[in-house]
Amino acid sequence: MSSTESTQAAGNGHDEPAPLLRVEGLKKDFISGGSRMLGRAGNVVHAVDDVSFSVARGETFGLVGESGCGKSTVARCILRLLEPTAGRIVFDGVDIGPLAADEMRRLRRRMQIVFQDPFGSLNPRMNVEAIVKEPLVIHRIGEQHERSNRVIETLELVGVTEQQARRKPHEFSGGQRQRIALARALILQPDLVILDEPVSALDVSIQAQVLNLLRELQERLNLTYVFIVHDLAVAEYFCDRLAVLYLGAVMELTDRERLFRAPLHPYTGALLSAVPVPDPAVEREREHVVLAGEVSDELATGGCRFKARCPIGRDRDICGEEEPALIAHESGHLAACHFPGELHWLVEPSASEES
């Protein structure tokens, strides 16, 4: 609960208008690993464990963290593709939890998602035009003729030509497929687009093209993005504000400047330090924090969920006894740690930085 309040503080720190999206105390549990055969009850995975943040209009909000930390689950709860176990999702002032199916359908037009896999997410039997048109058909928008025009306009927007629109997805490269997926999301003229690892499957040269396109579209269409990514370099390049997730909970939440320059949470510090810098001159000077152990599903009861791997708190009693709350240590800089900032010397900005 304290985290909810403080997040709002973070979101509205600069006296901004009401945010487009507010996630409050979101929880999602999965039952997994149960086995009747061995008479073992399924254990509950707290995939998302009390996550709160808000996203302002026109902003890019990043969710970063290692595989399995709950990024996609948050996204699917926002779209109500999954029913949250607890918590509220407020979109443009409307709590979407109690909405009836048809109201939700209307609202869903304004929130779209683009997935990571440009191969799996497009129906191989449909041509590109049909794929991009499908949302219009589903939502019964426009006449036949009008729809076709809109498809062509939208494809143009993402850089796919009219001639190419007759082709099937397998005739396109990964980057082009991601453009098509983007066109399908944009054709409904949404306000919010959730991008779940949209460039992770792409090569660097193609990745840059798609990132640039996303930027350009955001400016042109005044889009709001929730950007899910595990590549921190991409996150740093692309996001305005970010939340770092670990085992389903927010460890740190702030703007990119502070997150990447002066992280408060040891996990953020360790993550940043683990990313190799593509510059041998910098790389050979750097110290690396190599985290021990691996992410485990078993939550330590009580105490900090990062404790077992934490270079700072591993041997400190309080970290094992009391779960640190996500609180603002400076205005707009939240961290869930008893010893914020102790690791920050490890991630000094590089000397060769251009401004």
Binding site: S32, G33, S35, M37, L38, G39
Partner: protein, 341 residues
Amino acid sequence: MLKLVLTRTAASLVAIFGASILAFVLLRVAPADPARLLAGPFATEEVVEAQRVALGLKDSLVSQYFRYIGDFFQGDWGFSFSVGRPVIDQIGSRLPASIELGLYAFIFALVGAVICALLATYRRRRAVDHTINGFALFGLGTPPFWLALIVLLVFFGILDILPGPEGRLSPRQEAPPEVTRMYTIDALLAGQLGTFFDAGKHLLLPALVLGFAPWAFFFRLLRASLLEVSGEQYLATARSKGIRRWTAFRRHALPNAFLPTLTAAGLIFAALLAGSVLVESVYQWPGLGALVRDGVIEQDYAVVQAFILIGAFAYVVVNLVVDILYGVIDPRTRTGSAVTK
């Protein structure tokens, strides 16, 4: 592992129980009246009624069922009205013939399929692959009855190198001493090589014909999964250790390729054991198939009932064995943990 066996066995018992109820109910609701059949068409209604009481048909269904099961376990499988012999005797003489034929057909199918699948995939020679594949398609599309006649015509009628439709042994050949009642095995046990070869010759054609379609089916399954598995990275890993291609294939590809085939193999094995009416009648094979056909035509319940139970038993046991084999081959099913993507 023990737990797995126990839980699966328990599940099997439940399945057999279900089958027994089914067998029981099915025949109670059948149109023909066993008391009338037994008493004969000209008996008076009183006689038939007395017969009903004697047969226990007047009791409640539940007690009839329990009596039926109790009798079954004591070896009283009922009386075949049409033949006038206890069912257990009849089945006892027919079942081994069917099992023997089914067993050989299964071995032909499986061994043949493994060899052919390896030939078709290992060297990646298109011509070999296409040839065997075409043959398999033929096998899947050919009615066994027709095939049985054709090969009989060729090998007995024209070439005359294999015996004709005379059952399990040549007319003058004496059956080997009874142990398993499968002649090839009993002959070997008794050291009667002549009998063994005679029984073998008689088995050859029906077993091949019966196993042809299952062979084709196994071949297609195995070929597909071998192709899939041979692209797997762990084969490359094995070879990067210095293991030769064939060894890597045998050690790492085959066990994995076998997994998807296992369930199908179990079901087909059970089906083969139950015999085949058409192939048996072409070769005059004294198996279960013919017995059941007659039982159905004559409305002889007890025979059909016993057959259903035995069939269910065979399926359940074979499935149990398959499950356990799965556990032995695939550790992921053993630990019960989720298979990782």
